[in-house]
Symmetry: C2
Subunit: 368 residues, 2 copies
């Protein structure tokens, strides 16, 4: 957003084996520059080279976005005809002297389109994976970032509370999802939301990544709502599971187990312990209850400007938790072809433990 | 969606110099397979090799999505630990015998993440650009696709009509954008919308790609609303420009010029003429009026499952329009630091001319 963040990146580059990084539009580029672009058929790349003014290649029709920035930027703009784009990339690479250098990339964010233009302009360069260096910039949230995340959680919670009285048997998952999106906006979420809510009931709730369907809510369904809001560029990502009318005793039982797993995972979250411990604490509760093989995903993922970022709460991740790290705790049990439960909260590691940003009741609530 | 579409791709591969294509989740993958994935840190790739059953690499926790498909698919699923992902890619590449072959890619959609996994498994393969082959599959819309687009236009238009009476001086661009998104959902848009509406007024309206800001609407502003809806996987993308109270005579004048340019562009759209003619027809009106240098972008882009796709209405694009091709006609005039106008419609080429899907009044309307 300011020179400070580019300075932070420069300090990271100085202690790394990288000469530069290239970034597609997305959270990291926005974190550094404050700039957002809708990524479509026109290439956009930010070049940040060690001890140099950063450079941006972009279409001329986006030039107004960079007209009055609070930091220095070298701008390389191209016109509408794609045949001229390569030349603009060559100028940017030349201005920064990047050929033959080590240019770090983010494989999960960088498109082949931009990569190929840069590679053609710097045929002797190497392109090592810079994901860790870049993720490191955003890994420990400062107080302002945590407050934005807290607000994003509050918006999400109050939006779902407004929707709950409207949930009725016979309503489709899609209708419920649309109502929830409306309430998220009414309660102050930014229009560009982190993800479309998952609203899945009955057999669909057994699919952790279901999309809302035209299936109608039925008595006896479990109803999983996985939703979030965006505030000032930061997001929330929560899940609660409801009972539509009266549900099977086993479904009530697995809900209770997941609630206990959630409590165990949150309790394990503190500075100095590895991410693996959070996963293990939650997973052990579910395994002890005999449902281990139905908890098919890791216990959580980092959260901030993105829905999924470092650190990941996986049983094999020995990364040590530090104050400012923010992530989800989201154990679940999914009985294939039947019903599923997930409970998801957002936590931030503090100096002594963890601040759980979400406080909506986790007990099973009956709706419909 | 069905075997038919994979057969269509196979027919294209047979007449191309490609042995296969690889696809990231997105419109092309959805067009072929009916499958959607939220693309995050886990790689997902569809392999379609000539005369073979298509193959999909995906995380185990997405397996339910492919449990009952109406076509044959080879599934290669991986677990939560990234160290095992490379092996799963190797198995998929081996099953299809792709090393040393010509594997087409879509540079504007494919991430480096998936590309690197495939390349590591097929070190002797070549990766030519398959954008044209893949765009060709979706280029001519069938009747069902046109009807979905028509419905997406109708939803967008009725949503904006519902918002217009609520527009007031003092309202922020962001508030107006949030209200519009709510109305889009109420009028039946799918929750996963094509893009966040652009709502830009006063000096912001002179930036064709502005994001809604906290700036309040003021008397004398031009107000550009660029919005769309999604229906059954197809989208609309429209723009209308309003006057907030009484506006400067020059702003009324440029609005009228853009309206005439829009009419000229739509009139030029017919089968057998190059895309360039649509651009030229609209651009000439603006140039003749002396505002040519303030029309800073091409006249339109293709539309369908994506906001921007082939064919592009650019002055240098000699691609011939054919029945079923769908695109925007969206001339504009942007006076830097002052105000801007854009009018955007969605048209589909027919056997004899063009079907203009959008019919909301294009005259300047006073709001506020």
């Amino acid at each position: 957003m300011t020179q400070t963040r580019f300075d932070k990146l420069n300090a990271s580059l100085r202690t790394s084996d990288l000469d530069a990084v290239i970034l597609n539009p997305g959270p990291t580029l926005k974190y550094l520059s404050g700039l957002s672009f809708h990524l479509m058929e026109r290439p956009v790349v930010l070049f940040a080279a060690k001890d140099q003014t950063p450079a941006l290649v972009l279409p001329e029709l986006e030039l107004q976005k960079v007209a009055s920035l609070p930091y220095a930027l070298q701008v390389f703009a191209y016109g509408e005809n794609p045949s001229g784009w390569g030349e603009v990339f060559r100028k940017a690479v030349q201005a920064l002297g990047l050929d033959g250098k080590r240019i770090g990339v983010e494989p999960r964010a960088l498109r082949l389109l931009e990569f190929q233009y840069v590679k053609a302009s710097a045929p002797e360069a190497e392109f090592p994976d810079a994901s860790d260096v870049l993720a490191g910039l955003r890994l420990r949230k400062d107080a302002a970032e945590v407050e934005a995340m807290r607000r994003a959680v509050q918006i999400a919670q109050s939006a779902l509370e407004a929707v709950i009285p409207q949930i009725k048997i016979g309503m489709t998952e899609k209708e419920l999802a649309a109502e929830l999106v409306m309430q998220l906006l009414r309660h102050g979420s930014e229009p560009e939301m982190p993800f479309s809510p998952i609203v899945s009931a009955g057999p669909n709730s057994a699919n952790p990544h279901a999309s809302p369907s035209d299936r109608k809510l039925q008595a006896g369904d479990l109803l999983v709502v996985d939703w979030g809001a965006a505030y000032d560029g930061y997001i929330s990502d929560l899940t609660r599971t409801f009972a539509v009318g009266e549900v099977d005793a086993e479904y009530q039982k697995i809900h209770k187990i997941v609630q206990e797993a959630s409590a165990a995972g949150r309790a394990a979250a503190k500075p100095g312990v590895p991410c693996a411990d959070v996963d293990k604490a939650a997973r052990e509760v579910i395994e002890r209850a005999g449902y281990g093989k139905y908890f098919t995903h890791r216990t959580g993922h980092g959260i901030g400007m993105e829905g999924h970022e470092d650190p990941y709460m996986r049983g094999d991740n020995m990364q040590i938790l530090e104050p400012g790290m923010a992530f989800t705790v989201e154990p679940g049990i999914y009985l294939p072809g039947r019903n599923g439960v997930r409970i998801e909260d957002n936590v931030v590691i503090t100096a002594t433990g963890a601040d759980v940003l979400s406080d909506m009741p986790r007990e099973i609530r009956v709706v419909g």
